[in-house]
Symmetry: D2
Subunit: 310 residues, 4 copies
C-alpha cells in the first residue's frame, strides 16, 4: 500500500542520510541497511534528500537513484517524504511528480534563498504549489540555512490557501513563540514536526508540536520522547531527552554536524562509510576522541538511568 501524508501526521519522521562509499559513490547497500536501522528503532516515517541528505551534491540521476532505492527498500512499511527543493521550479515540479509516482507519501519544499519580502515568499510558494496540485507538501521553515524568514501571517496565508500543504517542518530559531502562535492561530491546522537537530524537542512538544523531523543518530530517543509526551508523561520524556542532550547538542553543530552524524551511524552499523561528499567536513583524530568520550558518557548515564528505574 502507499501512504499519503496528511495534517494528522505525528511521531518521528527521521531525516535520512545519503550513504556514500569511501570513494564517494551512492552506496545502495547502505541505503538498505540504514532503512532497517531506522525502522527497527520505531520511526513513523522517513524523509530523504533533505539538506542533511546532501541532496544538493547529487546529480539529477543520483537523486532519482537514491529515491528509488529508499522507496524500494521501505516498500510501503512507513511513509517516505522526498525533499525536492531546488532553484528552478520546472525541474522541482517534475521531480516531485516523479517522486509521487514512485510511491512517496509527500514532498518537502524549502524556499529559494533569494526571497525577501512576504509578497515574494507567498509568490514563490504560490508559483510552486499551484503546479504541484494535490501532491502533499511539507513546508520547510529553516531561516538559518535558507536566509528566508517566513512570518506566522505568511504561513497562515499559505496554509489557508493551499490544502495540499499538510505539514510544517519547524526550525526557525528562536522558534518557541512562533510555534505557540501558529498553534493558537485561527484557521486550518497542519501537522508541525520540529527540526533543528531536535535541540528543543521537549519544549516544542509542550507547545504543541506533533513530533520531530530530524536526524539524530539515536532516533530511538526521539521516538521514545515523542511517545512519552503523547501519553502525557512529559517528565519521563524530558528526563530521557536530557540524558541524550550532551551528544545531541554536539551533533547539532552546523557544518561538522553531518560528519558527526554519519560517523555515529557508521559506528552503530547503520551505514558502511561515514564519507561526506566534497565540499564537506572531515573529522580529525581529536574529533574522534571527543566523540568517543561523549558516547561513553551517554552510555554511562543510560545505564545509571536503567538502574534508577529498576
Amino acid at each position: 500500500m502507499s501512504y499519503r501524508l496528511d495534517e494528522t501526521a505525528s511521531g518521528v519522521y527521521v531525516i535520512a542520510v545519503t550513504p556514500f562509499t569511501d570513494a564517494g559513490l551512492v552506496d545502495e547497500a547502505s541505503i538498505d541497511r540504514v532503512v532497517e536501522f531506522y525502522l527497527e528503532r520505531g520511526v513513523t516515517g522517513i524523509t530523504i534528500l533533505g539538506m542533511m541528505g546532501e541532496a544538493h551534491k547529487l546529480t539529477s540521476d543520483e537523486s532519482r537513484q537514491v529515491m528509488n532505492r529508499y522507496l524500494a527498500r521501505v516498500d510501503g512499511r512507513v511513509p517516505v517524504v522526498v525533499g525536492v527543493s531546488q532553484p528552478g521550479t520546472d525541474p522541482l515540479v517534475a521531480f516531485a511528480k516523479e517522486a509521487m509516482d514512485a510511491g512517496a507519501a509527500g514532498v518537502m519544499l524549502a524556499p529559494v534563498n533569494t526571497l525577501r519580502t512576504e509578497e515574494q515568499i507567498q509568490g514563490y510558494f504560490s508559483g510552486v504549489l499551484d503546479r504541484l496540485g494535490s501532491v502533499p507538501v511539507v513546508l520547510q521553515d529553516y531561516p538559518f540555512v535558507t536566509g528566508v524568514n517566513i512570518s506566522v501571517d505568511t504561513l497562515r496565508v499559505i496554509f489557508d490557501r493551499y490544502a495540499n500543504v499538510v505539514m510544517l517542518k519547524h526550525e526557525d530559531w528562536p522558534g518557541h513563540s512562533k510555534l505557540t502562535r501558529l498553534r493558537a492561530s485561527a484557521g486550518r491546522q497542519v501537522s508541525i514536526l520540529v527540526g533543528n537537530g531536535g535541540l528543543y524537542l521537549p519544549q516544542e512538544l509542550a507547545r504543541g508540536a506533533y513530533g520531530a523531523m530530524t536526524g539524530f543518530a539515536y532516533p530511538e530517543m526521539l521516538v521514545e520522547v515523542c511517545a512519552h509526551f503523547a501519553r502525557g508523561n512529559a517528565d519521563l520524556g524530558e528526563d530521557l531527552f536530557d540524558i541524550y542532550l550532551p551528544l545531541l547538542r554536539h551533533e547539532a553543530q552546523p557544518v561538522i554536524g553531518i560528519a558527526l552524524r554519519k560517523e555515529l551511524l557508521r559506528r552503530r552499523g547503520a551505514i558502511a562509510s561515514a564519507h561526506v561528499r566534497s565540499p564537506g567536513p572531515r573529522l580529525s583524530a581529536e574529533d574522534h576522541r571527543e566523540l568517543d568520550r561523549l558516547v561513553e558518557r551517554q552510555h554511562r548515564r543510560l545505564a545509571g538511568a536503567s538502574l534508577a528505574a529498576a
Copy 2:
C-alpha cells in the same frame, strides 16, 4: 578544430542566455539563432551556462542539452566556455570533463557560497582543481552573488599553484583597485575579463583588463570598445561606451536584469521568447515603456554620433 583557453585570451567572451520557449522549454532553435547573432557582432568567444544563463534552474539533462546544442552550432568558430559551478564537487568534475570532451575550450567555476576564510576558499579550489587536472579554468570572482570574497593574496596563491587556471572573471565590486593590484602583483599572470554587466569597462581596460566577459544585449559595443582600447584609442572607446551607458546601467540591475536582457535580445531578433524561468522576474507594461524610451534615446545618440563623425 577545437580551441583551448589560455592566459592570453582577450576580447569579448559574451555571456550567453539560455533561450526558452514561452512554455519554458529549452529552445534549441533560438540557441542557433543567438549564436549567429553573437558571432555576427564579432565576439571572440561565448560563455554558456553562467549565472545569467539560468544554469541553476536546469536539470542535469537540460544542462547537457544546452551545452551540446551551443557547441554544435558554434562548431569551432570561436571558443566556448562552459559554466560548471554547482554545490557538489563530484557532479561538477564529471560535467566539466563531459564539456571538454564535447569540445569546450574551458570551464568556468565560482566558489560555493558557504566559504568564508581564505583557507576554506583555497581548500575548496584545491579540492576541485586537483581533480580537474589539465582542464582550462576560468575562476569567477563575484562576491555580490556568491557571498565569497577572494583576496588578491588568495588569487595569487591559486594562480601560482594551478597552471590550469588561465582566466579570472573579475566582478568584485568595488573592484578597480583589486584589478590594479592583481596586474601589478608578481607571479604568473592570467587573462582578466571583466563582468559586472560591463558597468566599468573603460576604467577596467585602462587598469589592465584583457577584455570583457559579460552579456549586454548590444555586444557589438563591447567588441568595439575593447578593439579601440586594444588599438590605443581609449578616448574613442570610452566615447562609444558612454553612448550606451544609460541602457547598460539599466540592464545591469540585479534581479530584473535578466528579463531586460532577454527582452532586448528578443526585440533584436536573437531569440524567439523573452521567457525567464521561475522563480524569476516578469516585465510590466511600465517596464516595457521605460525600455522603449531608453532604446529610442540610445538610437538617437548613436545617430548623432555618426553625424558628428561624418
Copy 3:
C-alpha cells in the same frame, strides 16, 4: 523661520558629508563652506548625519556638534533633515527631539539591521514612531545597506498609520517597479525622494518620484534635472543627466564612493580635506588619475553640450 517637512516636499535634498580635518576632527569651518556650496547650487534642502555623513563613526557629542553647526550656518535658509538612526530606541528618540528643538525640519530613520519579517519591521517602526509623536519623519528604505527589505504593503501600513511619516527615501534596488506600485497604491501619499547615488534619477522621476535625496558631488545637475522634469522637459533633463552619468556611476560605487565624493568636493573647494574616518577607504594614485580623467571628460561633454545648445 523654521521649516517643517511635509508630504509635499520635492526637489533636491542633498545628502551632506561630515567634513573632517586631515587629523580626523570635525571641521566646523568646512561645514560652513559646504553649506554655502550646496546653497549656491540651488538645493531645496540638506540632509545631515546620514550613512554617507559617517554618522556612525561619531560620538554622541560629535553628532550634536555637527548638527548644531549645520543648523547654525544654514540658519533657516532651507530645511535641514537630521539622520537619527541608531541601534537603541531610547537614544534615538532623545536625539530626534534634540534635533527638532534645535531647528531641524524633520528626522531620517532607517530600520535596525536585525529585522526580518514584516511584523518585526512594523513593530520596530511602531515602537519608534509612537514615541516620536509629531516629529516629521523620513523613512529610509535602503536594503543594500540595512539588510532589511520593506514591502510596498508594509510601507502602506506605516504611511496610513503614522501621519508624521512624510517622506520616503527610496533606494531599494532594483526599485523602479516598487516606486510605480507605491505611487499607484491607494491611501495616503508621501513625498518620495530617491537615493542610490541618483543612478536612476530620470527613470524614477518618470515613475513619479518627487525629487532626489542623494549626495553626488555635482548637486547642480540633480537640481537642474529635477527642475527640467518638473517643467515637463523630461528629455532635456535626461540629456543633462546622461552627460554626468559616467562620473555619477563612478561615485556611486559602494565603499570607495564616500572617498571619491569627498575628494571631488575638496577639488571643488567645498571642504578643506577629503579625510574619511577609519575604518574607511583611501584613494591611491591610480584612483586619483582615474578621477582626473572622468572629470576632464565630463567637462568636455559639458562644453560640447553648451556649444550644441548655442
Copy 4:
C-alpha cells in the same frame, strides 16, 4: 590596586548585563547588586559593555556611566574588562583610553561588520591596535553576530604582531577544531576564554581553553566546572555541566536569550528589573511558564546529584 589583563588569564570572566529600571534608565543600584552577585559566585573577572550588555543601545554618556559605576563598585576586587567595539576608530580609541584611566584591566574589541578578506581584517585590527598602544586587548571572534570570519592564520598574525592582544574570546561556531589548531600553532600563546553561552564548555576546556567568558545566569556552575577541569577532574566538571545544560541551552538561544538571562537574574535577586531596551525581546506568559519548568527541573537534578554525592 589595579589589575592588568595578561596572557595567563584563566577562570571565568562573566559577561555582565546592563541593568535598567522598568522605565528603561540605567539602574545604578542594580549594577551594585549584580556585582556582589557575581563576586559571591566566585567569578575571576567581569566583562562589561559587551553585546549582551546592550552596549550598542547606550549613548556615549550612558556607556561612561555604566563603566564608572561598575568600576567603582568592583573597586579592584577583580579585573574588569570593558567592551569598546563601535563603528568608528576615533571614538573607540578614545573610550578605550578612558576605560584604562578609570581602572579597567583591559578592553574587548570585535571587528566591524563590513570586513571580508583577511587583509581587510588584519588592516582593521592593525589600524586600531597601533593606536591602542599598550592597552591590554581581548579580541572577540564571534562570526555569528559580526559576520566576520577570522582564520587561525590571521589570528596568529595578530597575536605575533601585537603583544597587547592578550586574550581571545572564542565563539566561532563550530569552533572546536579552531581551538585545537590555535593551541597547537607555533608562536605567541594568548589566553583563550570561550563564549557562545558556554554551550560547549567541557569540550572546549578539554581542547585547551583557559576558561569561559560568558554570561549564563548561574555563573557558579561555570566557576565550578572550570575549577574541576583545572584540578584535572574533567568528569566531575562535565557531570555538573550536564545538569545545567538543559537550561543553559535554553538561555543560549539568539535574540530571546538576553531576556531569559535578565529574567533569571531578576528572579535570583541580582537585578531589580528584567527590562531589555528596545528594540529587544519581551517574554510571554508561555515563555515564563517554560522557564519555570526548566528551572524547577534543574533544581530537582541538582538535589538528586547532592543525594548521590552524599
